[in-house]
Amino acid sequence: MSAVAAPAAGAEPARARRRTGLGITGWVAATIVGLATLIAVIGPLVTPYDPNLSDLVSAWIGPGAGHLLGLDVQGRDVLSRLLAGARSSMLGPLLIVVLCMVVGSVLGLASAWRGGMVDTTVSAGLDILFAFPGVLLAALTAAVFGAGLWAAVLALAVAYTPFVARILRSAMLKERHQPYITALEVQGLGAVTICVRHLLPNVFPFMVAQASILFGYAVLDLAVISYLGIGVQPPNPDWGVMISENQSGILLGYPLPALLSGACIVAVVVAMNLLGERLLERAGTEGRR
């Protein structure tokens, strides 16, 4: 017996149509993401204390006495700093994802639709960009424009674009050669109309899934850049900055502030990745056949 079971070639009756739910993991992930987003929006408005109000005498004091999560290296309220820091920690990645998805889609679409010289040129350009790691680009950008959130966002968006463009190009290329797209071309519909009305909506679920996974990476990379001191600048609250500020606490036997900010990052990254994977599965089954 030389062969293995294949999907029923004769299109048997039960064309497995999976229900398009997210599953329990997916919903948990979505809830975490939703919560993080909510905090990013309202967090800075509901801080119990001024996140930058320091009191060196109270440094490294544990939870209690009106400070739910204790005080950090400079005696600032950890909860307030986490709430306020959510904004740059979430907004930065959001901007990165939007930027590189927009640029990546345009490049990917141009490559996939036109093929030939356009494809070759774009691919060559992307290959060059591929050579630069995001953190290196961020260091360069910081050197040129000065360190800060915006420089880091720009650097990471540029660093991610080749990945996005390449992955979207392959998805769009597959869609571009579907007979329904060809039928519309034969009808005489313009390329832009076909792309906007038909091609993009059909790869959109895939794009959302990719964006979600990318967001997770962006949170992490941005935190690393801020930790290294070339991203968000202290004393501005940011989860990455908070780890770097409070890392000495780990050695001093007071790891809570660093761990809490780390936990926030990990929670968002993992949740985004899980959500992205569920969405990918869904994009793969939904609407097809």
């Binding site: 579907q178 007979p179 329904y180 060809t182 039928a183 071309e185 034969v186 009808q187 005489g188 519909l189 313009g190 009305r197 038909h198 909506p201 059909n202 609407g287 097809r288 056949r289």
Partner: protein, 274 residues
């Protein structure tokens, strides 16, 4: 249809050639179909029949040779939207796979309406709606199926939608690229009957690309047989099928299974020595 060009054939290709790198896919193919006529292009994989179809619809550009629909050249890519749309009203195509030839996100009526908006910009929404209903009915679908998403339809029903969408542009020529090959036998017969009725009713010209000789016989008046990129035989369909002249056509004809098929004969062809 322009009055001036009324005597031109619906479709005429001459000296058509297509190469991909060093590979010659199509070599010196010429044929013409009269208005309201029907031509079968018969061949197996690698015969170049699909490449010919792609050149006619503009998906591939010929390396050499000319293609004219209703007397107008379409060998070169269209310049501008107006010419693109005009070409859309000259030649339409129905593909083989009913599952991928419709946008999965677009209901049937919207898909047809989109084509009408393109070719009949002067029509009101109400006029278009009337025409959509007419087209849906013409291909034998009911109102509910007419507003369904493709995934709610069977293969045969989707192929009817593809036909209705192609006819919405009121083309002079309809290319049927293996359009019934993927359908179950009982559904294939329904769609073939539909195509026969539509041709009588609309006086449309068919170009059928197929490997299935019986389907070609049922649907076409004339036929060209392609083998390895070239036309090896041409003529009236019944003449070519009843008395094939070229060795390849004879082989093709003898390969169609029938009861009393001489498998011993086929075996001898396999091992000429024994």
């Amino acid at each position: 249809m322009s009055e001036l060009l009324d005597d031109a054939p619906a479709l005429e290709v001459s000296g058509l050639r297509k190469t991909f790198g060093d590979v010659v896919a199509v070599e010196d193919v010429s044929f013409a179909v009269r208005r309201g006529g029907s031509l079968g292009i018969v061949g197996e994989s690698g015969s170049g029949k699909t490449t010919v179809a792609k050149m006619i619809t503009g998906q591939e550009r010929p390396t050499a040779g000319t293609i004219q629909a209703c007397g107008r050249d379409r060998s070169m890519p269209a310049r501008g939207g107006a010419e693109r749309r005009r070409r859309g009203r000259e030649v339409q195509i129905v593909f083989q796979d009913p599952y991928s030839s419709l946008d999965p996100r677009q209901p049937v009526d919207r898909a047809i309406d989109e084509v009408l908006r393109l070719h009949r910009p002067d029509w009101s929404a109400a006029q278009r709606a009337v025409r959509v209903t007419e087209l849906v009915g013409m291909v034998g679908l009911d109102e509910r199926q007419g507003s369904a998403l493709p995934r709610a339809l069977s293969g045969g029903q989707r192929q009817r939608v593809a036909i209705a969408r192609a006819l919405a542009a009121e083309p002079d020529v309809l290319i049927l690229d293996e359009s019934v090959a993927a359908l179950d036998v009982s559904i294939q017969a329904q769609v073939l009957n539909l195509l026969i009725d539509l041709r009588e009713r609309l006086a449309i010209t068919y170009v059928l690309i197929s490997h299935d000789l019986a389907v070609v016989r049922q649907l076409t008046e004339t036929v060209v047989v392609m083998h390895r990129g070239a036309v090896v035989e041409r003529g009236r369909t019944e003449d070519v099928l009843d008395a094939p002249q070229h060795a390849y056509t004879r082989r093709l004809r003898a390969s169609v299974p029938t009861p009393g098929w001489d498998l011993a004969e086929v075996r001898r062809a396999l091992h000429p020595a024994t």
